[in-house]
Symmetry: C2
Subunit: 341 residues, 2 copies
């Protein structure tokens, strides 16, 4: 069982692999990439992975388990958190420990050995989005989970590992993570002060000034954020106020797939196929309509953040929490807008 | 002038290079390393850098400007923050902006083209420590600065850039950075509850259990922290309670140099010379003895954190603030202890 350990000073939680601890030499040796013929995520190699949790073959048949799949969700074979057991919170002198309970799943986005989501068809990406929504709805039923993070690590320097096959991951956590809380608290503060959603205000301002707008579709907008942490960081925001990715309308799925593909394609073609992380920022589960999260439907606004890994995060950022962005977001937006797709 | 831009949602500050914005192609092309003959930090190449702020040639002559230097402090040629001007806080619609005021200095640690601090002599490292203390004392006089972060980026993947010559950096900021505040608040909370310093308690427990102790000297201890964020993360802590690195006693400098060298050497030899970030965690300037920081002398404890860059920080960490450590800190401590030095 992995341990969730709490730093006694700042209260930061860390997932520590205590049983299946990697060996020191694993960090030293250069890892080689897995060849296409050995890829466990390709069609025909399903026997190399655990049984699927969900498989989708067509956007009109949403929950059809089959071997003829287009998108396939499986449990992670190297889970950061385990689905079985209890949290069993306990102390060790000044330290706090929890068992690493949670869910860790892999969303295989194509039966073919394609590496970048940018190269999938729009219908295919819409099916990936359907898989995200389906898994969120299912995991909400497990009362132990407070949050599900959906993310993608593309490329080795973004933590994409040794297998190139395009996939996303999701992790369900028994606590609402600190970074999620910071965003929720921030939007709540703004709402209490102005009685408006900070994201809605931001979208209005971005559309008016146009300086940081990269792409627009009927329902979505891609911008480089004003306080970008990373060069060419981009956010995709729904125009209509909605706090929860699960509430995505059926008609919005293909539009989201369209803007996501176009955004990723501009990063790929304009920046020499960089590694990137993509993170879905959505509201935590709101099983009770009481307490702190009561107004979350009004004050939070789901969105996707994409962070190309073009520079290294260094000592100053780790030490201060200040990020340094060496290109103005306005210049980055202009550049991405002009990429020939 | 660089801009300090505030994210309107979570209030995170980012330094954005708006005038000397890097060009998109700078992120695409592979950078080559600067050859030894062209290194601006080597003795005899002083004309390639700005005039020194401080140069030290001997631990007994602390503030002697000279060309015969062992450690040399210069202004950064690519400063993240500028020393001249005012903050000029202002709004842009929903956004907040400050001018990027601050100091950014480079501490060149040797006149020779040595790349890793681990390979410097102990006397030499003690002189680097003297330079840190001298610069903190000098910058404290500038009332605009609230904090000085001293850090080191070693190796390209730790943000060490294109020049290999061993050096540290310091950045003085007009605000106390968020990560520093989190640590200060955390230690204050613990002190209010137990009337003891959390770091002192932690040191006692670590010495008693021995599981995570890598090295001990008369005045210092090197441990792998219980909730390590990174594999082989190590902290160096002074045994005697002291909140401020500036208060380091003369007799402790050589002892700190000794444990720092031995710690870095174990990382180098045991882990194939990994890239790492080193950060000095010290108290902010306490010009007034009132208000929130009144008790900081009691509740905070300076220390050094060293983070080898052996794995990539990926989407889950960015999205949640949870770190994942794939090796148990107890195993990492055992391994480092056994490295043949």
């Amino acid at each position: 069982m992995p341990e969730l350990r709490k730093d006694p000073i700042i209260g930061r939680w860390v997932i520590v692999s205590v049983e299946h601890s990697r060996k020191p030499k694993d960090f030293i040796e250069n890892l080689s990439f897995v060849e296409e013929g050995e890829c466990p995520f390709c069609a025909g190699k399903e026997y190399l992975t655990p049984k699927e949790i969900l498989s989708l073959s067509d956007s009109r048949q949403k929950y059809q388990k089959s071997t003829n799949w287009q998108v396939r969700v499986i449990p992670s074979q190297a889970p950061l958190l385990r689905i079985e057991g209890d949290l069993d919170r306990r102390g060790k002198g000044v330290f706090d420990v929890l068992n690493g309970i949670g869910a860790h799943e892999v969303i295989v986005e194509s039966p073919q050995h394609i590496s970048n989501m940018a190269d999938l068809g729009e219908e295919n990406i819409a099916l990936v989005i359907t898989a995200y929504v389906e898994r969120l709805r299912d995991l909400e039923k497990d009362k132990r989970f407070k949050y599900v993070l959906i993310f993608k690590n593309y490329g080795f320097s973004a933590g994409g590992g040794r297998i190139m096959h395009t996939r996303s991951q999701l992790i369900a956590t028994p606590v609402t993570p600190i970074r999620v809380k910071e965003e929720l608290f921030g939007s709540k503060r703004y709402f209490e002060f102005r009685e408006r959603c900070v994201f809605c205000d931001l979208i209005m301002q971005e559309i008016a000034t146009k300086q940081r707008v990269v792409l627009e579709t009927d329902s979505f907008i891609t911008i480089t954020p004003f306080a970008s942490r990373f060069p060419f960081e981009v956010w995709i925001l729904p125009r209509n106020h909605n706090c929860d990715f699960m509430n995505l309308r059926e008609t919005e799925k293909l539009d989201l797939a369209k803007i996501l593909k176009r955004t990723l394609l501009r990063l790929k073609l304009g920046l020499n196929d960089p590694a990137y992380n993509m993170i879905v920022h959505t509201a935590p589960f709101r099983r009770e309509k009481e307490g702190y999260w009561k107004t979350i439907d009004q004050d939070y606004h789901w969105h996707i953040e994409i962070m190309p890994r073009l520079i290294q995060v260094a000592g100053f950022e780790w030490g201060t929490g200040f990020y340094i962005c060496p290109i103005a977001p306005e210049d980055a937006a202009q550049y991405l807008k002009e990429v020939q797709v």
